[in-house]
Every structure is written in structure tokens, then in C-alpha cells.
Symmetry: none
Subunit: 419 residues, 2 copies
């Protein structure tokens, strides 16, 4: 492990897509990406299955797989993910839960699990009221998320997350009593039920938000970290809290950055000397996909492509511009930047955590385009970065959990197995 | 799981093949299949390994894999398979065995394990004699299969299949005493040995069929069923009992049908509204392969292709007819049928359970052509359905056990894994 080679993993969230009409091009194939295409020509491509064939992954398992964790073995509870999503600084023994404001009727039966999707401002106000609740030997955090959704975190010694949910998951039933599913969670169950009791007293006159429903009780998963496993100093550059949180679980340092893709690349350049492994997360592709906005997803991909010359000395082929591409002005950046500014990491990976086709407006199961370039990779025939080219790539379709090993190998950071 | 999308899985038994001469075409590639080719152009293709690379599967494991069961984890005993093969209505606690009529010499040593491959008519007659055997508290079924082969089923309470075999598997040894390999099978062992003792008394004067050899003792495997696991109402359309039996083990309803491929498609149309998932089994491809009849296997594939317009609205490209194809008259069916008759299922899978190249006259290990078409699949570059096209398909070569997940995903019938 004497290698000092650097690895940059660039993740475009929800990168994989679908053509709008049969026989058409996907978002990535439509985008004008001379730099990504040049990188594909130097490297090798394939498709990744984040969790497994046909499985649509959530952000949690999808990122764990990119970081080298088997996403079926290492599962992160929903309460923890929700806390990470709002940037809550979760401690080791905290128990976190996803919570809803809900409506119960005069008989105490749930009539609306989302309290009419109340306004986020109202959620913030009601969370403020619930913070008044006092619990024996336990510190309480009540944090708004969005509309009817909030997070509850219980902090204290000897708490445990083996608990049933209070959310009955359908209307016409009362909120459930929380029960311990293992003896060591008995005290935590009492504390949670006391929280719910006091919450219902406080909310009694706040119809339609006159009840709370809790689910996904979870504690910080104890993952072996990237520095421990691989001896890598790893850093994460992400605008959104969820992805910083996931990277932190994996043992990465979280680098402060701005709000744009350009900010993220600038942050990379600034800290380039201090780490071996960088995870850069771009959110805009997923958001555009979820909004069903094919053209915006194309533009975000082009924006990322335009930043690549910061990272790499690339010599894109002359590209004939066709269709609904943006202008090829992007190309000029490369020639304008002095070569000394190129970081030229030893291994560059470009991929997504999952597919989010604008056509489906949601995460999907489709395998995700993957690209790895390094001096030591065995380049394949791919000359562009897109779903069709990746489907013929030399890497084939493979589990995302293998990416970390491939990246380390191409950084000459792995020793021989066996003698 | 709110989706009501329908899935049709069309299995051409032993579909995969080999060219007759180096550089030639396989059976599937030789067949004139404008409809399958049009379907391949709309969908994505690949090759499946039913059990694993290099493994030649029997019909049992090959079909379990197609139905989503790990064929190594879920194994079906030979006695059960033999009973399914003759359409015997096996009950939950029955113990079934494969049996041979055999010849023993004056010293009681086996001299011919197959009693000179006696005529099937003789087998039927001798099975009739063995039905006279009376056993304590156990109902006995003795059912002829073919030539020297028959099935014995023991029905009673508290029977168990952990038993050694009476078949010594070679000549010059006596039939073995059946022993229990677990204590709970002790009584069953006594019953089976009593059956053998009485059988040998009855057969004493029926040389060369003067003994029986029993092996493959097995009980009905308790598989979790497709309705239980996937919430699918599943139906099977198959002419041969073995495949109906396998489908029944997986929890499918068995639909009565006729004897031809056209009958099977008519049965599909008739019951289309009542189920979510249809397994259609075509036997002729395998039989032709086992007979070494390349041309007949080609014709069966063409017969299936000609039925596809019942299922789907396809617009085959204009096809140049070359080589030893049948006439392109098949194409005209599509334009003759009113569009209203098209079923147009949301997901169509066409594949085989294993390869049976006419060249080898037997099941083989070769990966099997696979095709999946759906509005939500990411179509690949394949423009025809054949071994060579499938080898370059975007699905690559993958385990058959993944098919069910892929089909469900493309029917939008799966929820997200993790958050």
C-alpha cells in the first residue's frame, strides 16, 4: 500500500435514463459531453447494478454500494437516513425515528396519516412545541423535514432501536403502542411511548395535526470505515446533507463547499493534496429526473462535463454537434486553462448511484453507466459515455459493490491475494 | 405493488442450440422468425445460465430458476419429479420413489438393472400386479412410466424421505436394504422394505423382471409460492405433465389446454383477464433436439413465431428470406388479425429452460437465448433473436434466477429497496 495514487469518484445522482420514445436517446446520450466521451475513449466502461438486477435502490443502499459495502448486508435504518438528510449530527448511541404529523378522529383512529400534508412552516412551528417535552434521563431532538414529516432523536445512555412502529400504516386504526422486540429495548420503548403521550397532549387542539406517528427507529450503523479497511484518507464533496451523512458513515471527511458543480470542483482542487480518495456528489441530475425534466437533466450533465477539464488533461476529438445539444463553447475551457492546473488523478470513476429516468420521474432499476479511466486500466473500444456504449463495454454489467476494488487496483493500491 | 401489469413468460424447452457445422447458424438463427426479431428489436436480449456456467440442467432445476428459485438451494427429489412427469397428483406428505424393474440371478445378485428394457405394455401389466401389495396404514400407488421405469408412491401419516436407495447402481450386487438416514424415517424404511419383499414374491416367476430397484425417495418440496412471494396470480399453460407439475409446485394455477402451440396461445387469450403472470411451455423444441432433428426444431420455433401476433402488436421489418427458411406466409397472420385481439402484455419474456442442441441430442450447458420486451426496458441494439445477437445483448450472460426480478421490475411491480 505504498502507492500514493489518487482516486476521484464522480457520482451524478440518478445518472441512468431512458429514451423519451422508442429508439431514441437517453438523457446522457443526448447531452453534449466531449470531455466525458474523451475520458470513455481513454478508459473502460460498463453498467452497474447498485443492489441487484431489477432492484430499484434508495439513496442509502445505492451509495453504500459505491463506497464498497454490500448494500444488503449493511442496511441503514430509515430514522438514521432521515436524520442524515437534514444534516443532523447523529451520535453513536442516538435512536432516530421518522415521524409524521397525522390526524386522529374522536375515537382515536387515524383518519389521515399526513395531516393533510400540512405546510412546512406549520411543521416547524409544531416541532418547536414538541421540544418542550421532558423525558427521564434522555435528551430529545425534534427536527422538521418537510410538510408533515419530521425527525425525532432520543439521546441517552443504554438506548436501543429494536422497537415496533407506532405508525399503523393505514387509516382506521389507532396509533400503535411501541413495543420492544428485544429485552434490551424495553426502557427505550417506555421512553418513546411517554414521548407520544405528551406529544398527543400538546397537539390535542392542533387539528388536523393532532397526533404523531413514528417509524423506522434506528441507531447509527457501525460500519467499518474506508480508512480502516483500505488505508485511504477519503473526503466527500456534496451539496446535500444526505450524501454528506452517508459519506461520514463510511469514514470520509466532509469538505465544506458551495452550491454549484463548479464550487464542488473548486473544493476538490483546493483540498487535492490532503486526501487519497474523493467522492464528489452531483444532485441536479436526480432532481431533474424526479421532476420528469429530460432537458434539464441533459443540461446538468453538460454542466458537469464542462467542469472536467479542471480535473483532467483531455483532448476531446473534434465533435460534430447535432440535435438539441448546448453550444460546443464548453470545449474551449480546456484549451484556456493552463495545464499546470490539471489535477490528473490516477484513477477517475464517473457513474451514478442509480438511474432516475425523466420518463419514470423516479428512481429505477435500470443499470447505471459506469466509466473508469487510469493509466493502468485496459481500455476498451468505447468512444463515448452513454447507456448503449456502456452496455457493450468491457466491464459488462456488474455489481456496484465491486467499484471500490476496481478503483484501488487501478491505483496500484492492492496487494496480491495468495502467494 | 398496485401495478396490474401483466407478464407473459414464453419458454421454448431446450431452445438454445449449436450450428451443424463450424461457422454455421443454430436452430434459432436458421428459423424464419420475423415476429421474434421484431420483439428483440423493441426489447433487450442476453443469455441465461440456468444453474451455472458449464452446468447442464435437468428440467426441474431449469424451470425452478425460471420461476425465481435458486435451483441449488431448492432441489426437487427424483421421485417427486418422476411423479410430476406422469401427472400424478402428489399430496404433501407422500413419499415418492423412482423405480426400475430389474433382473436378479439365482444368487440374488442384480444381473440387469433394466430387466432388458422391457416393453412399456409389460411395465403396465406388472405395475397392476404390484398394486395388490398391502402395507400397514399406508396407501400404495404403483404407476408405470416407460419401459422398465415406474413410480411408487407411499401415502400415510408420518412418512419421511430420509432413506438410502435399494438400487445398488451396478450389476453383481444384491438390491440394498433401505435404511433410514434420520431416526424419523425408521418406520418408512420398514414399510418400503416390506414393499420390496412382497414385490419380489409377486415377481418371482416374471423373469427377466423378477426384482424392483428403488431410488430417489422424495417428498413434495415446500416451496414458498409465487402468489405468496410476489403477490402475483400466476397461471401455467403446458401440454406435458412434468411442466404442469413444476408450475404447481411454484403455486401456479394449471390451465387446461390442447396439444398444439396454437391451443396454448388460445388458452392464454381465453384466461388473459384472470391472471397477472403466465408461463407458457412449448415442448417440441426440446423433443426435436433430443431426437437430433435440426430441421424439426427449426420448424417448431417457426410455429411459435407464427403464433406471436396473437399476443402482440408487432411490426416486423421487411425481411429478406434466405437459406432454408420456411415461407414468409407466416407474416400475413399479423395483418389478418384485428388489432383488438392482441393481448399486448406489459412484459414479454421469451427464453428456454436450457439448451438442447440437435447436434448433441441432449440437454447441454450452453447459455440460453433470452429476450425481454416492455415499455420500460432500456432497448439495446439487438435486431434479431438468436444466440449470436443475444451474446452481444445489453443483459450479458446472467443467472436465470434473476429473470423473475427483471420481469417484475419492468412491470413496475417492485418497490424501492431502502430509502
Amino acid at each position: 500500500m505504498a502507492s500514493t495514487a489518487k482516486i476521484v469518484v464522480l457520482v451524478l445522482d440518478g445518472l441512468g435514463g431512458l429514451p423519451r420514445e422508442e429508439g431514441g436517446k437517453t438523457e446522457l446520450e443526448t447531452a453534449f459531453t466531449p470531455n466525458l466521451d474523451a475520458l470513455a475513449a481513454k478508459g473502460m466502461v460498463g453498467l452497474i447494478n447498485p443492489v441487484g438486477p431489477g432492484i430499484t435502490p434508495g439513496s442509502g443502499p445505492a451509495h453504500l454500494a459505491l463506497f464498497g459495502y454490500d448494500p444488503v448486508r449493511y442496511q441503514i435504518g430509515r430514522g438514521v437516513l432521515e436524520a442524515l438528510g437534514i444534516g443532523f449530527d447523529l451520535k453513536d448511541r442516538d435512536v432516530a425515528a421518522r415521524a409524521n404529523f397525522a390526524t386522529v378522529d374522536a375515537q382515536g383512529l387515524v383518519s389521515d396519516r399526513r395531516a393533510g400534508r400540512l405546510a412546512t412552516e406549520k411543521c416547524i412551528e409544531l416541532c418547536g412545541l414538541l421540544r418542550r417535552i421532558k423525558l427521564e434521563d434522555v435528551e430529545l431532538f425534534v427536527e422538521p423535514v418537510k410538510e408533515h414529516r419530521f425527525v425525532v432523536v432520543f439521546r441517552g445512555s443504554d438506548l436501543s432501536d429494536h422497537l415496533t412502529e407506532s405508525d399503523p400504516q393505514k387509516v382506521g386504526l389507532p396509533p400503535g403502542e411501541v413495543r420492544a422486540t428485544r429485552p434490551k429495548s424495553a426502557r427505550t420503548a417506555r421512553i418513546v411511548n411517554e414521548f407520544v403521550r405528551q406529544a398527543h397532549e400538546i397537539l390535542a387542539n392542533h387539528h388536523p395535526a393532532n397526533a404523531v406517528l413514528l417509524r423506522g427507529f434506528a441507531q447509527h450503523p457501525k460500519l467499518p470505515t474506508i480508512p480502516e479497511i483500505y488505508g485511504l484518507q477519503a473526503a466527500a464533496i456534496a451539496v446535500y446533507p444526505m450524501y454528506r451523512g452517508l459519506a461520514k458513515l463510511a469514514g470520509m471527511s466532509i469538505l465544506a463547499t458551495g452550491t454549484t458543480v463548479a464550487d464542488e470542483f473548486a473544493t476538490l482542487a483546493e483540498h487535492y493534496a490532503s486526501y487519497d480518495y474523493f467522492f464528489i456528489h452531483v444532485k441536479g441530475t436526480d432532481t431533474a429526473g424526479e421532476d420528469g425534466d429530460f432537458a434539464r437533466k441533459v443540461r446538468v450533465i453538460e454542466e458537469v462535463d464542462a467542469e472536467l477539464p479542471t480535473l483532467l488533461q483531455l483532448n476531446p476529438d473534434v465533435v460534430v454537434v447535432t440535435g438539441d445539444h448546448s453550444t460546443p463553447a464548453l470545449l474551449r475551457r480546456d484549451t484556456q486553462l493552463p495545464t499546470l492546473l490539471k489535477l490528473n488523478p490516477d484513477v477517475v470513476v464517473v457513474t451514478g448511484d442509480h438511474s432516475t429516468p425523466a420518463l419514470l420521474r423516479s428512481h429505477s432499476w435500470h443499470p447505471v453507466p459506469f466509466l473508469l479511466s487510469s493509466r493502468w486500466c485496459r481500455a476498451d473500444a468505447a468512444r463515448e459515455f452513454g447507456e448503449t456504449a456502456c452496455a457493450s463495454g468491457s466491464l459488462g454489467t456488474f455489481p456496484a459493490v465491486n467499484i471500490m476494488g476496481l478503483a484501488l487496483a487501478n491505483a496500484l493500491r492492492l496487494t496480491k491475494f495468495g502467494a
